[in-house]
Subunit: 185 residues, 10 copies
């Protein structure tokens, strides 16, 4: 399972969440943060600041004076313990190597059907998106960094629909008058 | 170039579009069809019906009694000719093999930066989307077939933004009471 | 071995089944569920509800007040223990990450001869299936989600035969009149 | 497009079929052969005998004294010609190299959504099929050679369904008393 | 090392064999089974019946009332123990998942020179074998299931020679009159 | 050769350059553009505006009333001809598909030794760069879009040195207060 | 199709053979050469001497004063012509690059079912062969160069059998007393 | 996470650094070494001499008479201990195998967005760099061995910029008069 | 065949060589250049100067006033023509893109047995070479640029031997006192 | 790190060597064996006889009555112990599986720069070596089995040079008169 590639602080967070019976949405509301972004924290794909990290643990019901957090390890069901401090450091990007490493749980092409369908959207419509970005904006990209995203449930009489919004800043390729290399020195 | 993998009727359509100086948006408006879907026709990723195919060629300025359509081949700049009928058959999925083959121009992972950023969104947020679909809808997927999508330009004081909406029907895994195999016979 | 990639609750289930000397078919009958689906539970590829999960453990002979379930670990023959609750949570998709991850034991192309033959059927007949789906149904897919399947043994005078039935709902690509993006907002 | 990998006699057959407006089903009926098998002939995945090959061309409306068969090449819309004899030889496996090469148009994993769904069935249920074959039959495989298959459309009030039947002979691994190597000499 | 991928019962068997100083040939003789097949048992690629499994352990010098079998683990030289019953279950295909998984130690293309040379024979002569099978037998395959094989040492004045015999049943593709799908129901 | 993947207008430009005996540096000077950027035009990796495209052809010695430009094709030494207009359209990103496709000539990992050394710098120092970006700037990336670069020759008594400067804007991941999805609608 | 990768002289040979209606066996007999080796000539995997090459063309019915040999090209059915001398040079390894390149038509893993079964024999029994070679011969390999092979049809009451014999010289790794590097100078 | 592939002495160093709250820049200053090079020590990509290794541990606040260094293991938060001597040996390339193995944490193509952007620079500009090296220096490479590099933060009114300098010695391919092989003996 | 990837000037050179019946050794002698280097010219892997390129064509028997050079194309036996000037430009690295692209005909891992054995030497002894370079020279590499190589035939009573000598300059990783980045500006 | 793939007896040997401060050259001298071959023993790529294995441990300073050999594990610095007998068995190829598995630490293409340069020599000169072997010896290979090799340091006024000699027996493909298959029976 690719979730086995998660850093240990993430596994602990997911375990705490399971015990709390809270949804990502409820947690996001409690800590006052966007839903996908909050979810991404649990998968090691976003970086919190110190106070958000603390709030997140609070929201998950972990007492602040509870220095050791136990969770059940998936691979063998044994009980494991991480210090609260260790989890905080993971969340704020001061864990392993002192930084967040993104993308570690992604496999290409993905085999899980939910992930595959997201991927297939690009397989089929990727070039169309590129053509429309080119035509509407010019020579450049949709930033995946200056980026926000949401996933919502829309009621529909033919069945509920998943609506994912990708909203990234358009970044044009540098104009040549911005290539003054003397500024690089 | 991966665009070299396009079926010839697509290359001809893109060539006609270039000559017409029309945008995908204008063409979509003229034929009264969604923008991304219309764009996807040019990349062989959607299937038109006969009347839409005719309207598309009309919109591109190709006269109906013009049985032969010329375009300049990208690979060597030579002039090529396709019959109008051949292009129509491509658009309605009655060309090579009598059906549309989707995905043929996609390379994984993509090397073009515009395509890569779209892909990176999944690398980083894919598992979060899966987790949220699971939590909000249950065990199932966002359909990439019962699906619609748009790409829009949003003005923003910090710079224009690309907003892509993915809207697919949620499909739950069949409940076991739907597994009556006697119905399969 | 790819079975080494199974989540621990699956390894425990397979171990319990071995001790019980029950067949998948008998177990499926006992819990009143389809055979392939029941088998898929043991490989982490289907999600049970709470009561089915309980019934499954009952069927495997695990007493409800038996809170700890032992099994012999394949990799080194040591005895391992999982809590009954942990196994239940795995079965109902509330284990690792709070959701089922499908596909994790599949390798492509498969090396095991049984798996390879199933795969070879697609290598040889895949395009023919696509062509027939196209011709009989139109532009769309056989759903692997709205799906049921069985595997049966047919007596035949020239030797027993394996009969696998794949039965999925046909999903047509969205018609363009279903692309009203205002409904996505 | 992977259909570009088809041998030329297949492209010609598909082109003739398109002109004839016949379905695979009608053609199969006319020549009195199974539907999937007949379809597989068009994709170079089955081998006909001489009389079936002749009947197929007859069914497609090609006159026997018509020694040259024209079709429109997909890649550039030009008109190409193959001799009737050349097509016949392709069908009966006496073309390139004097034998049928199967599998040439398959890409793994497949990118076309129709093909992918078929493949995903294996990704998800492959190990379950293997486990059930093992349990019901013993140590062996479902033959993909001693094999027959069909694809049917089933009406269903929740929507049409695609029903694919895979029916292969069970082949047990040779018992050791069949390993008399002196018979090999 | 790919031998690290062996199931634990195989590692134990190889360890017992090393202690016994017996050759595969001697063991095969003792249990009255073919040599390659007996060897394949040690690599998890064949399935024994109960009595052969017992005989094999007997032949390796393991006493039947010796319920625990120790061996030295390759990865760290530590002493490990498997129950005799656990090894028997592995041999008769009732271990992990209740079935044999073949192919798990093969890597493609192989890097070990002995394995590579075997593979190179196919790289160079594979198509010739296919052509000859086609010509001598017709449209079909050499079965790798209904199969027997041996490896022998031949004295030769220019140096000893390795002679490997592959002997598989020819399986013709099903004739169309065997495609009566009504028999599948 | 990967240069064979270049769009035809690039091959023509490189051919014109060879005939002109001008260096990239001289050409860049003549058209008043950065050197690497100008070079990138010849490899289809940058997009010019109309006037720069015209100036480039001027600089290469192609007369404006010379509507047909001949060059010798690498693959077979034959003479080919592209219209001046066709080359201009390639340069301004209105050729095949109406946009620039970047990355098409890159192979990973590269086999050419010059390309490989550039790549090896990342293999060895990539994580160090990431760690330093993280530490000096925070959680974000060096943009490859808002980017400029140069390659210079530095005299050194121990031998000439290649000095490549990569200068990209730092892009921080969006702060959560920038995730107001209502702005996406 | 991988046969498309054959050198042109091989395609011509296969075409001549098809016209001659001779089997590989008959041709091998006529030229007095081993059957697999003769077949390998047609697939560019063996090198003939001048007189064998001449005999082969004689056997195929090509007159010696017939300087131009026509064959029908598989890819488009057109008629092509090679000089007799060109074919001879291909056969004796003085064609492209002045040497035979082996292995060019092999794909790994192979998709054609006939080739795949041969490969699967190695997937399943490869390590057993290695173990037996090690035990019977010592530390070394079966040569694929000092090698001979045959493929025969054996009648068997349970059905015809394909018997392939691989017979290669055992090559031991050099003993250290053969490592006198002064002999290398 | 690819950082999991780091040798244990590197994990310990990164852990010590985290505890020390020192930046790579401060550490580099303290030990008087270049910044990227110092950073590379922490990722196992550079080799220190004995005195630098000692200084580095000093700088990180590890007392010289502190023979055992504890750090918290990322994978499970447990406390681990390495001897000071063991870390020193890792740094001076006398650890595992007695040498530094470079490149072990690099994955291609990289999935982390920071690493990917660095890589994309080559995807887009790689051939341009090669062309300019060729033109300015001749037939040869930029050495990645005789190499130095820096990463700096440049203030810019449009936002901070990352400036990476790659500075490698140009190495020309050996002239043929340097091919006197008698000197090799 | 990978030789099909050769630039056209190389195919022409190999064709001229075949007609001349000269060996690489004789040609190398005639032009007074090293043997492997001369051979590498024919495979597009080395760059000649103008006078060597002229001498090479002289040596191959092509008259200087013979402006057009014909050769027989391998793929279809047709006659092709390249100008002498075009071949010269290829040899001196002023052909396609104005530079030599090395490595284009290499496939990894190689399938041709001769190439594979060379590769296997690295598979088996690669780490030993690295360890010895480390021990004898320190932290650095054997240059493949400042490099010379030969291949010789040694008579030996047990059979002829191939002796390949690789002789490359040792390049140490830059000492940190060579990392003065101010010199890069 | 790929050295992590070494069998445990190799890790122990490398650890003993590090403690002994002996070079591979000194060890090779002491045991009277070739240097590369002796080095290859440490990487599991060669097989010793019993007496050489004993001598090697002697040379490394391990007393014969010292039955347990401790070494520090690289992955976590813990102390591990292997029996002397276990190491001897590894060296003489009677460890895991009773045979040496070669190639297990090789990755393709290699990422370590030292290994890569060795590999690049083949990427660039591989076809030239093949062409010269063909021309000087005929149709066959340089054996990597009947093989010896050395790596030496040559002083040179322009810098030390690494000289690697590959010396393998030429093996011609079997002549057809050696294909008497009756000898295989």
């Amino acid at each position: 399972m690719h979730l086995n590639n998660l850093p240990s602080y993430c596994t602990a967070l997911l375990s705490l969440k399971a015990e709390s019976s809270l949804s990502f949405s409820e947690i996001a509301n409690t800590i006052g943060k966007p839903e996908v972004w909050t979810t991404a924290l649990f998968f090691g794909q976003a970086k919190a600041d110190q106070s958000t990290a603390e709030s997140l643990l609070d929201a998950l019901g972990s007492k602040r004076d509870n220095k050791e957090i136990s969770y059940q390890a998936e691979e063998d069901g044994s009980s494991k313990t991480l210090s609260r401090d260790f989890i905080i450091k993971g969340l704020i990007g001061e864990g392993m190597g002192g930084m967040i490493e993104r993308g570690g749980t992604w496999e290409f092409p993905p085999k899980d059907p939910v992930l595959y369908r997201l991927y297939e959207v690009l397989v089929v419509y990727g070039w169309s998106y590129k053509a429309l970005i080119h035509e509407k904006f010019g020579d450049g990209i949709m930033s995946a960094i200056g980026f926000r995203t949401s996933l919502e449930k829309k009621k529909d009489e033919t069945g509920d629909r998943v609506v994912i919004t990708l909203d990234g800043k358009f970044l044009p390729y540098s104009q040549t008058d911005q290539w003054d290399m003397s500024l690089s020195k």
